[in-house]
């Protein structure tokens, strides 16, 4: 069994700065290519959306029983994706798992950006998007209000809150690093970072404020993250439709969210590690830990799946049972079984150490997990619609080009935001890595010296300061 360190504690702080700031230097060709591919994808989506806006939703091939389609499933997918950052930065933060430090920054960025992506879909799928603001409870002269009983209006609140909170969290967490950028940049960049770093000079008082705020935000964000996906799940669970009206949906959704989040983290972890040569920081050890975490979550998700199936199977609702059977045997069966395979079988690859340490394998695996998560969302939305209570209206929907284009474009949009982020902001948290290095080094020194002093009988172990 290989034992290696989360991070090389001999690494110099200056080098950390250097390495991270290097990742923000002028991009290479490969970057621009990906960048423009993303722009092209977004362009497709925009064209499709304009066409849909002018012609009507019919162009998506949605139909009477199948009123919702890929828009909603993609929406749920992105919302789920957004739980990764919170998990790494907030949950692991308060349980003092310091190995998160090198990798939580981009995870958090992912959170924000996937929310920014998810936010579009409820609007895109509206029949009359130009009236979307009627969902917002503002004082209207007409004296009419949104329907507070509707999970969709809860969504509006939940998502906007979560988005603003996580953005704030990301920003606050970056302040010290932004200050570093400020000090190393010149010209316009200096102005920008100067503005963003809110005059951070790293005084004691600032650090005190900073730590408090950060912890506070973390504690605030965790219940928020949980509630958001619970509310999204209630879009389905609050209905009476067979296959949607499931009590275990909230935890199921949250687990699924964390799952997809972790999978996405692994993907990006590997990419960043490869492109920005972050081997020093995104070490195999951390990779292993992430994989283990993912594996655990995968098992939780599998368990909740089984619970749901069992509950339906032994439940009293014949319709739900029929939907379940149709999931496994009906027109969507291949999606269902792919989801089960990729979601519950493939993760066992994470349990094998030699595979865990093999980046290409992990890359493929993580993509498979993501795929399974997307299919999961589709399997939540589609089968119930295509086979609910009224047999006369059993019908399936084949998504049109428009629908595909917009879903496709959303990935481009996410990529775009992320690409911009990694070039404008430090995608590895410098100050936290420094902390990590500091603590580890101190630990080791402690061990060494206590050993020495035990021999010499010196009862006053001194502490050597880091260079």
């Amino acid at each position: 069994m290989v034992i290696d360190k989360d991070i090389n504690e001999q690494i110099k702080w200056a080098q950390i700065n250097a390495d991270v700031l290097r990742s923000m230097e002028n991009p290479r060709k490969a970057y621009w290519i990906t960048f423009f591919i993303c722009i092209a994808m977004v362009a497709c989506a925009v064209v499709a959306e304009i066409y849909q806006y002018q012609t009507g939703l019919g162009v998506t091939n949605l139909n009477n029983p199948h009123m919702w389609g890929m828009y909603i499933s993609t929406f749920v997918f992105w919302i789920g994706m957004s739980h990764s950052g919170t998990l790494l930065s907030a949950i692991l933060h308060i349980i003092h798992a310091d190995w998160r430090k090198p990798i939580y920054r981009f995870a958090e960025a992912m959170t924000t950006f996937s929310l920014l992506t998810a936010g579009f879909f409820p609007l895109i799928h509206l029949g009359r998007v130009w009236n979307f603001y009627w969902v917002v409870p503002y004082v209207s002269s007409r004296g009419i209000w949104p329907n507070f009983r509707s999970p969709l209006s809860w969504d509006a609140f939940a998502i906007s809150t979560y988005l603003s909170a996580s953005m704030l969290f990301l920003f606050i967490g970056m302040i010290p690093d932004l200050a570093i950028c400020r000090d190393n940049a010149k010209g316009f960049k200096k102005k920008l970072y100067g503005a963003l770093s809110l005059g951070w000079v790293g005084s004691d008082r600032q650090w005190r404020h900073f730590r408090k705020t950060y912890l506070l935000m973390a504690c605030f964000l965790i219940p928020l993250a949980v509630s958001v996906h619970s509310i999204v799940s209630s879009d389905f669970a609050m209905s009476i439709m067979p296959g949607w009206h499931v009590t275990s949906f909230p935890p199921y959704f949250v687990a699924g969210a964390l799952y997809s989040g972790c999978a996405a983290i692994i993907t990006l972890f590997i990419m960043l590690r490869y492109f920005f040569r972050f081997e020093e920081y995104m070490t195999l050890a951390i990779m292993e830990k992430t994989c283990k975490l993912t594996f655990a979550i995968a098992m939780v998700w599998t368990y909740l799946n089984l619970i749901e199936f069992a509950a339906t199977w032994y439940g009293h609702d014949p319709y739900a049972k029929e939907v379940l059977i149709s999931k496994a045997t009906g027109p969507y069966a291949w999606i269902f079984w792919t989801m089960i395979f990729c979601g519950s079988v493939v993760p066992f690859a994470l349990a094998i150490q030699s595979w865990r340490r093999h980046m290409p394998t992990m890359f493929v695996v993580s993509l498979l997990l993501n795929l399974s998560m997307y299919f999961e969302r589709w399997m939540i939305v589609a089968p119930t619609l295509s086979m609910s209570m009224e047999p006369h209206q059993f019908y399936i929907m084949y998504a049109s080009v428009v629908q595909w284009a917009i879903v496709f474009g959303s990935f481009g949009w996410f990529g775009l935001l992320f690409l911009v982020f990694v070039k404008v902001f430090p995608s590895v948290s410098m100050y936290e890595v420094k902390e990590m290095v500091f603590h580890r080094r101190r630990l080791i020194n402690e061990d060494a010296e206590t050993a020495l002093h035990r021999r010499t009988g010196d009862t006053q172990p001194g502490l050597t300061q880091p260079a």
């Binding site: 009359r128 029929e322 209570m389 009224e390 047999p391 006369h392 209206q393 059993f394």
Partner: protein, 736 residues
């Protein structure tokens, strides 16, 4: 009052009372709220009976089929918006079928002919009425030199004063040539009842019957007077002891859908089954004394085994039906188009009528009808014999001038008759049409006629209910297109050309009608009223009640020579060109509502399809939705296969109505027309076209298409949405 209404220009009122509803929900582009953007035009003179924003109902008569139902039209700001049944009308008692509802779309149809058209240099070009009239008077005017017998009228079922006008015109010319053509008809049934009961259209009392045995008579959908029978059917079902319906046919009709027992029979063997049942009844102690020895022999000759072999129905099943017939009195036995449309159609229907005689239904559930006092107004019911006769006359160049109205022979004639080409043998063809249909496109002169909601007329349905009546048709709104003319108006002008002395007096049909009514009132026992009172009453009630002396039924049984069905190795299947309530015989194919309303049994919309039994399909390796080639001796059709169990394995059923090559945006080039591949066999006795006697063979084309239909599941997955209970349970419970 209506007179005034007709002349007052209504559409002026548009823009009042929020009629411009087209602006939908608040897409900024569709609503104009800025002041001074919309025009509002007031009336020139107020009409005391027209209040903007308030609807008025006027009575009239439906002409969507020949049943002659009374209707009420809802008129607002000069537009007729909705059609509903006239509760006073004895035929339909306030009800309508979907075709009646859709009449509006015939009237407002975007594809109507709006100006006269004349053929110049081989193609039709718009012209004016003046030119058209000049042409007419040159061809058929007083001075025109024409051979009287070479002038003909070709119409659909025609009755009331329209018929009177046509006969007058023919008399004025001196011709006897009036062909009346109707694809969906009951001519053979009428012939048989005429011969056996001396009553062409006996009144049928479903409401009195305890059992209906219908041999392919789609009396709820397309047979004789559907809405009337539907009303009776309701009484028949809700009666204290509920009547039972047995439907014997080779393809399930709409009526078959409501049957308690639906029996699939080999096409063309209904007569044999009827005799077989007679045989059973006689064997079980029903007296056949009333029948001649000859007839009795016929019956004796049809023992159940033989019949079972012919019809492909198990003996047990036949006995079941027989038992029901014997035990449930009174019953009524009906014969529909699929029985009539055979080479031995007459005999088959006769055999079926014999059952009524045997069971003593004559006089109980089959009542003598009233003898209509005005023969000149009686319906000239169309059939297919006249079509054949016409085709022959045309082929032998016996006609110089043909007037066509209310019929579309070029569409409905089998390709074998080659009518479309032969029509060129007629030098001058005048078509009075509302739509540019196939026949109109073959005309030398097309005269645009008003829709029935813009026109005057009277109708005398061939099938009269308890109270005989003349149904009155009046305009419910001003003409949509100023350049169209009412059929009556055209006739009056035509007649004036021949006989100015008598007909010159009438400005138009309106004047003629008023005059007619003024003379009529005494003969219908309304002498007390003034002419105007009588006129207004008739318009308000939409009918003139006529008491018709009831006929007497004298039963003269006919000897039915029912032939054993033959088999044909080359063409193994029977083609069933089934008419459907909705598109009917194809005349309603351009009404979008009816195109989009699904077929009652197959639930297919906007298209044609070929129904076949799964077992047959399996043999031929055909799957649901395969495009198949249905081929007869006289042509082939490519159409999607629709697998359904409600059909006999030997039958291939293609519904009527689609396959128009002209006619309008909704109908043109859609689906196929089974009439085209019919073999021109005729019924030996009546000479009617044997529409159901054509044999076909079926082959795959290899193409696969999706069948566009309403609903995506044929079973309820055990979720008892539409629940069924057996009648014995019903008997134990009170209530409807």
């Amino acid at each position: 009052m209506i007179g005034k209404m007709k002349r007052r220009d209504f559409l002026k009122a548009l823009g009042l009372g929020g009629t411009a509803t087209l602006a939908g929900c608040d897409l900024p582009t569709t609503v104009t709220l800025e002041e001074g953007k919309e025009d509002v035009v007031s009336y020139l003179l107020p009409d005391e009976y027209v209040i903007p924003g308030i609807a008025v109902w006027y009575a009239s008569t439906c002409t969507q089929c020949a049943a002659g139902c009374g209707i009420h039209g809802r008129v607002r700001e000069g537009r007729v918006l909705k059609i509903e049944g006239n509760p006073e009308a004895p035929i339909n008692a306030g009800k309508t079928c979907q075709m009646g509802q859709a009449g509006l779309q015939g009237h407002y149809n975007p594809d109507r002919i709006t100006t006269p058209m004349v053929r110049e240099g081989g193609k039709l070009v718009p012209t004016t009425w003046e030119k058209a009239q000049a042409l007419l008077s040159e061809k058929v005017g007083a001075k025109a030199s024409l051979n009287a017998d070479r002038v003909a009228w070709f119409t659909g079922t025609l009755s009331g004063h329209q018929r009177a006008l046509v006969s007058n015109h023919l008399d004025a010319i001196g011709s006897k040539q009036h062909f009346a053509h109707e694809v969906v008809n009951a001519s053979v049934w009428q012939a048989v009842s005429r011969d056996m009961l001396d009553d062409p259209m006996p009144r049928i009392r479903l409401d009195k019957a305890k059992l209906i045995l219908s041999f392919g008579a789609d009396f709820l959908g397309t047979w004789v007077s559907p809405v009337h029978f539907a009303g009776q059917y309701a009484k028949f079902r809700t009666a204290a002891d509920r009547g039972a319906l047995i439907q014997v046919e080779s393809k399930m009709s709409m009526t078959g859908g409501s049957a308690d027992l639906w029996v699939a029979i080999r096409p063309g063997t209904e007569g044999a089954l009827a005799l077989g049942l007679a045989n059973y009844l006689v064997a079980n102690g029903v007296s056949a004394a009333a029948l001649s020895a000859e007839v009795r022999d016929k019956i004796a000759a049809h023992d159940l085994q033989k019949v079972a072999a012919t019809t492909g129905i198990a003996t047990a099943q036949i006995e079941r039906i027989g038992k029901a017939l014997k035990s449930r009195n009174p019953s009524v036995v009906l014969a529909g188009a699929s029985v009539e449309g055979q080479a031995q159609g007459y005999d088959a229907v006769a055999a079926i009528m014999l059952l009524n005689v045997l069971l003593g239904n004559i006089g109980t559930t089959i009542e003598p009808s009233g003898k209509f006092p005005f023969p000149q107004l009686e319906a000239k019911t169309g059939g297919t014999r006249d079509l054949l006769a016409f085709a022959q006359a045309v082929q032998q160049k016996q006609l110089d001038v043909v007037f066509v109205y209310g019929a579309n022979p070029v569409y409905s004639a089998p390709a074998a008759l080659k009518l479309d080409e032969q029509l060129n043998n007629v030098p001058f063809k005048v078509v009075l049409a509302q739509f540019p249909d196939e026949t109109a496109m073959h005309a030398d002169l097309v005269l645009p006629v008003s829709s029935y909601l813009e026109d005057w007329g009277t109708h005398v349905a061939a099938y009269q209910a308890e109270q005989s009546q003349i149904a009155v048709q009046q305009p419910l709104m001003q003409k949509l297109y100023g350049d169209t003319r009412g059929f009556g108006d055209v006739m009056v002008t035509l007649l004036a050309m021949r006989n100015a002395a008598q007909w010159g007096a009438f400005a138009d049909n309106y004047a003629y009608m008023k005059n007619v009514f003024a003379n009529m009132k005494t003969s219908v026992g309304q002498a007390a009223l003034s002419a105007d009172e009588f006129w207004n009453n008739s318009l308000q009630t939409g009918m003139v009640k006529v008491d018709a002396p009831v006929r007497k039924h004298t039963v003269k049984p006919v000897v039915p020579n029912v032939a054993a069905s033959s088999t044909d190795a080359a063409y193994p299947f029977y083609l069933v060109p089934s008419p459907r309530m909705g598109l009917y015989d194809g005349r309603h194919a351009n009404l979008p509502w009816l195109q989009e309303s699904p077929d009652q049994i197959a639930k297919v919309v906007w298209d044609s399809w070929a129904e076949m039994h799964p077992s047959t399909a399996e043999k031929l390796g055909i799957a649901h939705g395969d495009v198949i080639k249905v081929e007869s001796e006289h042509g082939a059709l490519e159409v999607k296969a629709y697998l359904v169990k409600a059909i006999h394995p030997d039958a291939i059923s293609i519904p009527l109505g689609q396959g128009h090559t002209e006619y309008g945006r909704y109908a043109k080039g859609r689906g196929v027309n089974p009439l085209k591949i019919l073999k021109p066999i005729t019924d030996t006795k009546t000479g009617e076209l044997a529409m159901y006697a054509t044999r076909v063979k079926v082959s795959k084309t290899g193409k696969q298409e999706t069948i566009i239909r309403l609903g995506h599941s044929d079973t309820q997955h055990g979720r008892r949405l539409a629940r069924t209970v057996s009648v014995d349970v019903l008997k134990r419970t009170k209530g409807a």
